[in-house]
């Protein structure tokens, strides 16, 4: 334990460094949020509160484009997150409950490798893959790519939750005449559920937000929100982009909050004190 006198707050430079980090992290976000409510078209001069850019997003000249991009983004995020979560759940069950099998460590690496591969490499590789098998680029290529790179993100919270579930629960279920399927469905799955929900939400956000891979594999004529925003920004930053960004930020915050509360609401896995 740190002594009172060694409190981290008393280290020289603690406050300035903290402030610097906070500013770098959050000032840009704040600027975007504030100026999305600006009356004027300027992105630097405040001219009064207005919701006109939000209205513009929904009914303005670019609204059709954004609407289509949003539908693509959300539908892909939901389907990709669902698929990735299902795969990650089976993977975690196999990895953590299948006993030790040959290639277990290797499989673990295989599942988590995408987390450390630079995204641009994955993007190029995925593109090459789709070209090689002559797969027409469009909605489906984006979806498949998203499912693939979302798996490790869904896997992490599921595996973390599962590691905390002692296998005596399943043994108790089996002892009480449940077969393997029932033990999974009635005991293990409900206990894993908070992890599964977190995994789904994380995968959803990652998919919703992805730009690099999507941009590579999407082909012409289809946009997701990030690629549509990128396209619009190339012609100059308009406050309606800030409005869209602020709304995306709100979605992320809501999802993360849900994930947090689901995690907290999960039944405590703590065992009564006992000798093991």
């Amino acid at each position: 334990m740190a002594q009172a006198g060694e409190d981290i707050k008393n280290y020289p430079g603690f406050m300035p460094i903290t402030l610097f980090c906070l500013v770098v992290l959050y000032a840009p976000l704040l600027v975007v949020m504030i100026y999305s409510f600006n009356e004027s078209k300027s992105i630097t001069v405040w001219q009064g509160l207005s919701f006109k850019w939000y209205v513009d997003v929904f009914v303005g000249p670019e609204s059709a484009k954004f609407k289509e991009a949003a539908i693509n983004s959300f539908s892909i995020a939901i389907v990709a997150a669902l698929a990735a979560t299902a795969i990650a759940t089976s993977a975690a069950t196999g990895m953590l409950r299948g006993g030790s099998f040959r290639g277990r460590g290797f499989s673990f690496g295989l599942i988590n490798l995408p987390l450390i591969v630079p995204e641009i490499v994955t993007a190029v590789a995925t593109l090459i893959f789709f070209s090689a098998i002559d797969f027409e680029r469009g909605y489906l290529t984006i979806l498949v790519a998203h499912i693939a790179f979302c798996i490790p993100f869904a896997y992490m919270p599921i595996a973390a939750r599962m590691q905390g579930i002692e296998d005596t629960y399943e043994q108790a279920a089996m002892d009480l005449y449940a077969n393997k399927t029932q033990a999974f469905r009635l005991v293990l799955f409900p206990l894993m559920l908070p992890g599964i929900v977190s995994g789904f939400i994380l995968a959803f956000i990652i998919s919703l937000d992805d730009f690099i891979i999507t941009n590579f594999v999407k082909g012409a004529g289809i946009e997701t929100l990030p690629t549509a925003i990128f396209g619009a920004v190339k012609q100059g930053i308009k406050p309606n982009i800030m409005a869209i960004s602020t709304m995306l930020l709100a979605v992320s915050i809501v999802m993360v909050t849900i994930s947090y509360f689901v995690g907290k609401s999960g039944d405590k896995l703590k065992q009564p004190p006992g000798e093991k």
């Binding site: 279920a173 002892d175 029932q182």
Partner: protein, 366 residues
């Protein structure tokens, strides 16, 4: 109500059970028969294989060699959900996402009972363990002792033929543990099924069990009633592990008419019952319980060993006197405090004689 029952029906029969983990042998050829309706205890120090044997009976571990049958049917190859045996796990393993009632209903439903049946059975069981008012709570909202009783109710609900309990009281504090001993015994009597109970607490074993199997490093040391194990230990390990005892090194001088004459250092001589496997000239151990020894200032009839009092230790119900035998080993004598009126307490350094009733000293084969 008098129930005529055959006390000799075998519930669980373990024959030549061997369990190996890689090159380590956790169970070395164990054979034992557990009777129907019996409160049977596996007792032994940590790591001796009690849990392993229990898990083999429950179906959570496979035997490396040997056979195991339940009321005559071979069950070694059956998975746990096909064995009419339930377990009270050491950490209870109550399902945290279900209420107490749902926990207790689980086994009945999985066994094919209807919801109504399961609910009925759960209410009976919660009644039995006196937790009816907690039926709709979650396990995390109960105390350790209450969780322990839920685990018991849950395991009893599907009406198993045998109940396995792995140190179910070890997580409780001393007072509760003692109270639960009687409760558990009472529940076993009411349920009328076989309990196989694992503990490393000898007092627990002695007070609750019909029969006890004493184990050490994967081997069965002795099997018998509490009285047999305590009063007639087969070997040094059992004598030493169960209760307190004076273990004296002796050599056997003569055998005649079922008695053995032995001497221990300093010219002290003792006569005790002959034991199979101990011949003349053997150097063996002798066990004498401290409470079967008395002190006097003049030698009494029978074995009377002279010595000097070293110390008296007050331990509540008893006074423990340590005596250095003249040119011999040390001995511990226990005098009940309720006897103080008619028994003298000897001050340290006073010369005394240590007397033992006939049959108090027991020769041990190894």
């Amino acid at each position: 109500m008098a129930i005529v029952e055959d006390r000799n029906i075998i519930a669980v029969d373990v024959q030549n059970a061997v369990k190996r983990y890689g090159s380590f042998t956790a169970l070395k050829t164990i054979s034992l028969s557990i009777k129907d309706n019996e409160f049977f205890t596996l007792l032994g120090p940590s790591g001796c294989g009690k849990t392993t044997l229990l898990r083999i009976i429950g179906g959570f571990e496979e035997l490396s060699e040997g056979a195991i049958s339940l009321f005559g049917d071979e069950i070694a190859k059956l998975p746990p959900n096909k064995r009419p045996i339930n377990t009270v796990f050491q950490n209870y393993a109550l399902f945290p996402h279900m209420t107490i009632e749902e926990n207790v209903m689980f086994g009945v439903e999985m066994r094919g009972g209807s919801k109504a049946e399961a609910r009925q059975r759960a209410s009976e069981m919660l009644d039995l363990v006196q937790l009816t008012q907690f039926a709709s709570r979650k396990p995390s909202q109960l105390s350790g002792g209450q969780q322990q009783r839920v685990a018991l109710a849950r395991a009893l609900a599907p009406e198993p033929k045998v109940l396995l309990l792995d140190e179910p009281l070890s997580a409780l504090d001393l007072k509760l543990r003692q109270a639960m001993r009687y409760e558990l015994k009472e529940i076993q009597r009411k349920a009328g099924i076989t309990f196989i109970f694992v503990t490393h607490d000898q007092e627990e074993a002695l007070t609750m069990s019909d029969r006890i199997a004493v184990m050490s490093s994967g081997e069965l040391q002795q099997l018998g009633t509490a009285r047999e194990i305590y009063e007639s230990p087969h070997n040094t390990f059992v004598a030493d592990f169960i209760g307190e005892t004076n273990l004296l090194e002796v050599s056997v001088d003569a055998l005649s008419g079922g008695s053995a004459t032995c001497h221990l250092g300093g010219g002290h001589e003792l006569i005790c019952d002959e034991v199979k496997g101990v011949g003349v000239g053997a150097k063996v151990h002798l066990s004498i319980r401290p409470e079967r020894l008395t002190l006097s200032d003049t030698p009494m009839e029978g074995a009377s060993l002279s010595g000097v009092v070293r110390d008296n230790i007050y331990i509540g119900t008893d006074i423990q006197t340590i005596v250095d035998l003249n040119e011999g080993p040390q001995m511990v004598i226990r005098t009940s405090n309720s006897d103080r009126g008619n028994k003298r307490i000897f001050e340290p350094r006073s010369p005394v004689f240590v007397n033992m009733e006939k049959g108090a000293a027991r020769l041990l084969a190894d």
